[in-house]
């Protein structure tokens, strides 16, 4: 069985396990749903069948027991119980671990399988019998149960007269090749001179290394019909399941084979480090024997490496570090291209410009391709939350179902990695503060079961993730009262409900009456908001008292390269993330309207507050009469950024700022322009906070 086939099975099993967990969790709320039962049965059946085919016999035997129980459910013999679902979820974890160990049953897994199968016993067809109907041999030692790949060394020395019996060793070698991967080295040194050779005598012998899942007996069987006419020695050279250690050194292999004695190895060691050349120079071992030993060493090492990769990697077999490096290189390529483009423009060189444009086309393709490799569906993160919701809701005595939409929506791996914690916090908040206890819901005319809906979708170059619950919603009066108590407000004048809700994101804010292990320590929502903003995202909270709360996260697709709008403010070049830009308006400073809160621009009957970026840079006196206003959308509100000029749209490779500059408010990073100059990338939500919309032009 090839290692590739094993890898395919692991990939398939991983996918099926995700489906299985989801189905078990759904089954909990719909125990009579026979479609779900059939789905679980099918997943188990596929794991069993493929496992058996791909040499995972223990896994196959285990899933067989489970499949049998679910077959009874399918036939209506037994009903789905909470216990059966618990057993199912435990089995899910066990199968995952078996896949990772490549079907090797270590002592702890053996205990785990015993425990699960004994619980499953009462649902098996042989209920009441002493034998729980488990065919998996759990009492056997690891070495017997495990059918890992093993390496064997075969020394085959036929008698000179073997050809008389019409035996051709090539036939045996062909049969060996059917059992696994074979490396064969022939010893030819005994073949005589052409004038003296007896063409009907055999002078050759062989040393064969085979990597196989078949037993030693099976290998010996192949030589049975020649055993009287040859010397055959079959020995296992490597069957460790722990393949972290390096394989034997060359000297050890030759010592083990009997080609060198201990004394000879020690003597060679005294001279200099033991390597093939030194041994060959010594003349103690013929070259072909050294070659064979080196081959054995290489084969086992490469096999171990391959196994390691199968266990540790999923379908993306590229390390994140490599992807990061690739992304960095693409970033440098984009910067170099910008320099080339700048040069072509400066020189007015048409040909160079054409080349630069061709290159831009290619670089954009490479960039999109690399970014595409880093994109992963968010479904993997969503499915983790299903278990979280299930476990925590039962802990709190609540009935909550989590529904997800758009699991296939893709996001940059870096964004997904950093999104998990904020999402956990938001879902825990919905669980703890949002969804009511069943009796409270019933009293308010709601269904006893509450719903948390997670939705992901693409929208205008962003990904929107919505966390919605149908709980009690947030009471603005309580928030206002708490905000005043905690001195978070600026005055006694009560703002709008929408503005009041924003206090939830203030540091130290919490309305939970009891601190639970779920939420309510008041260190959450401000951290969540900061985390989302650090991802260049934004967070919008909407709540209707008695009906529920919806939190929408707006996230960029990637953090590495963005499309940016390059603008000029004073003598500085600044970058505004293009995804936040609504439109650009050319106007005159004198045409702006004034209000109590600052200058406003009228755009199609709407008055939009203006933020003069010149003030932020300390260039207030240099605001020209002719200005450009970039209308941007931040947290569902529109603002106009006053700039001197718009340079244009371009790909922006985001470079992080050094620690000295990280404290500068309103800046999220920097980029290098085509002429080598540095442009700062604006952190717009922070810019809005800094202005507080009170600046005058």
């Amino acid at each position: 069985m090839s290692l590739d086939l094993q890898a395919i099975f692991i990939e398939e099993a991983t996918y099926l396990l995700e489906d299985l967990e989801e189905a078990f969790l759904e089954l909990e709320s719909a125990p009579d749903d026979m479609e779900l039962v059939a789905r679980i049965f099918r997943a188990m059946h596929t794991i069993k069948g493929s496992g058996s085919m791909c040499s995972f016999p223990n896994l196959s035997a285990f899933t067989h027991e489970f499949e049998t129980a679910f077959d009874r459910v399918r036939n209506g013999d037994i009903k789905i119980t909470k216990e059966l679902i618990e057993i199912g979820l435990d089995s899910h974890g066990f199968i995952g671990r078996m896949v990772k160990t490549l079907d090797h049953v270590n002592p702890s897994l053996r205990e785990e399988s015993k425990n699960i199968l004994s619980r499953l016993h009462k649902y098996s067809p042989k209920e009441g019998a002493d034998n729980p109907g488990i065919e998996l041999d759990l009492s056997a030692p690891d070495e017997v149960v495990s059918l890992d790949w093993a390496h064997y060394r075969i020394r085959f020395t036929p008698n000179p007269g073997i050809f008389k019996y019409a035996i051709d060793p090539i036939t045996i070698f062909k049969s060996l090749a059917e059992l696994g991967e074979v490396c064969n080295v022939a010893y030819i040194k005994d073949i005589p001179d052409l004038f003296e050779i007896n063409e009907f005598a055999c002078y050759m012998s062989w040393e064969i290394i085979i990597s196989t899942q078949d037993s030693r007996d099976k290998l010996v069987e192949l030589f049975e019909f020649v055993e009287d006419d040859c010397e055959v020695n079959v020995e296992m050279i490597n069957q460790e399941n722990d393949f972290d250690d390096d394989y034997k050194r060359l000297g050890d292999i030759l010592l083990e084979r009997g080609d060198l004695t201990k004394e000879q190895v020690s003597q060679l060691f005294e001279k200099k480090p033991l390597v093939g050349e030194i041994i060959e120079e010594s003349g103690l071992v013929p070259k072909e024997k050294i070659d064979s030993a080196l081959l054995e060493q290489e084969l086992v090492r490469s096999d171990r490496e391959q196994k390691k990769q199968i266990v540790t990697n999923d379908s993306i077999r590229v390390s994140s570090a490599r992807l990061e490096m690739q992304m960095d290189l693409v970033g440098e390529l984009v910067i170099s291209l910008a320099s080339l483009h700048q040069l072509a423009v400066d020189r007015g060189d048409v040909k160079l410009n054409a080349i630069s444009e061709d290159l831009e086309h290619l670089v954009t393709s490479i960039r999109d391709n690399v970014l595409g490799i880093r994109m992963l569906p968010i479904g993997g993160t969503f499915s983790k939350f299903r278990r979280l919701v299930r476990d925590l809701s039962s802990e709190q005595g609540k009935q909550i179902e989590m529904v997800t939409y758009g699991a296939e929506t893709e996001l940059d791996k870096t964004v997904i990695d950093q999104l998990s914690d904020p999402l956990v916090h938001l879902i825990r908040n919905s669980l703890d503060h949002g969804i009511e206890l069943p009796e409270e819901r019933a009293a308010n005319g709601k269904t006893e079961k509450g719903f948390i809906t997670l939705t992901a979708k693409h929208s205008q170059g962003h990904v929107l993730i919505e966390i919605k619950d149908d709980g009690k919603g947030i009471d603005p009066d309580i928030i206002w009262k708490k905000s005043q108590e905690k001195s978070l407000t600026n005055g006694d004048e009560r703002p709008s409900d929408k503005e009041i809700l924003q206090y939830i994101f203030a540091p130290g804010f919490s309305t939970a009456e009891a601190i639970t292990n779920i939420s309510g320590r008041g260190v959450g929502m401000d951290v969540v908001k900061r985390s989302i903003e650090s991802l260049r995202g934004s967070i919008i909270l909407e709540s209707v008292l008695g009906e529920g709360t919806t939190i929408t996260l707006q996230l960029p697709l990637t953090l590495a390269i963005i499309e940016g709008l390059l603008v000029e403010v004073g003598n500085e070049s600044l970058v505004i993330p293009l995804a936040m830009v609504v439109e650009c308006v050319e106007t005159k400073k004198s045409q702006l309207e004034s209000s109590r809160k600052g200058q406003l621009i009228r755009v199609r009957n709407s008055l939009i507050p203006c933020l003069p970026l010149q003030n932020w840079l300390g260039n207030q006196t240099h605001i020209p009469e002719n200005i450009q206003i970039i209308i941007v959308n931040i947290d569902d509100e529109q603002y106009g950024l006053i700039v001197n000029d718009v340079i244009g749209q371009q790909q922006i490779v985001i470079k992080s700022l050094g620690s000295i500059y990280q404290s500068i408010e309103g800046v999220s990073g920097a980029t290098i322009l085509g002429d080598g100059a540095v442009a700062l990338i604006l952190d717009l939500p922070q810019i809005v906070k800094l202005f507080q919309v009170t600046e005058q032009v």
Partner: protein, 107 residues
């Protein structure tokens, strides 16, 4: 130049002894092959073994090739094997001699 049977044929081509092996060359052809190889060595010309149409071999044939190659080396004669059919190459690999046969340093 000789042609002992259809499977093995030795010809002289511009001062090179070309031994062509076709179809199956196994123990039944071993004696013929040995005689042709001795003849080729005795000619004193560079030797080339053409295996492009060779379909099946056994160990007797492989041993004779090694033996001839070594003998040619003692007479300072060139001994080359080419072209070679895919299936023959695979059989040589299976027999563990491909590297040995084609590595000149092993002579």
């Amino acid at each position: 130049m000789s042609q002992l049977d259809n499977a093995c044929k030795l010809v002289d081509s511009n001062g090179v002894s070309i031994l062509t092996l076709k179809g199956k060359v196994k123990i039944t052809e071993a004696t013929c092959l040995k005689e042709l190889l001795i003849e080729a060595v005795n000619e004193g010309n560079p030797i080339r073994v053409d295996m492009s149409e060779l379909e099946d071999i056994d160990i007797t044939m492989i041993q004779l090739l090694f033996s001839a190659r070594n003998k040619a080396a003692t007479f300072d004669l060139e001994f080359n094997i080419f072209p070679i059919s895919v299936q023959t190459k695979e059989l040589l690999r299976t027999s563990g001699v491909l590297y040995e046969l084609f590595n000149p340093n092993n002579v």
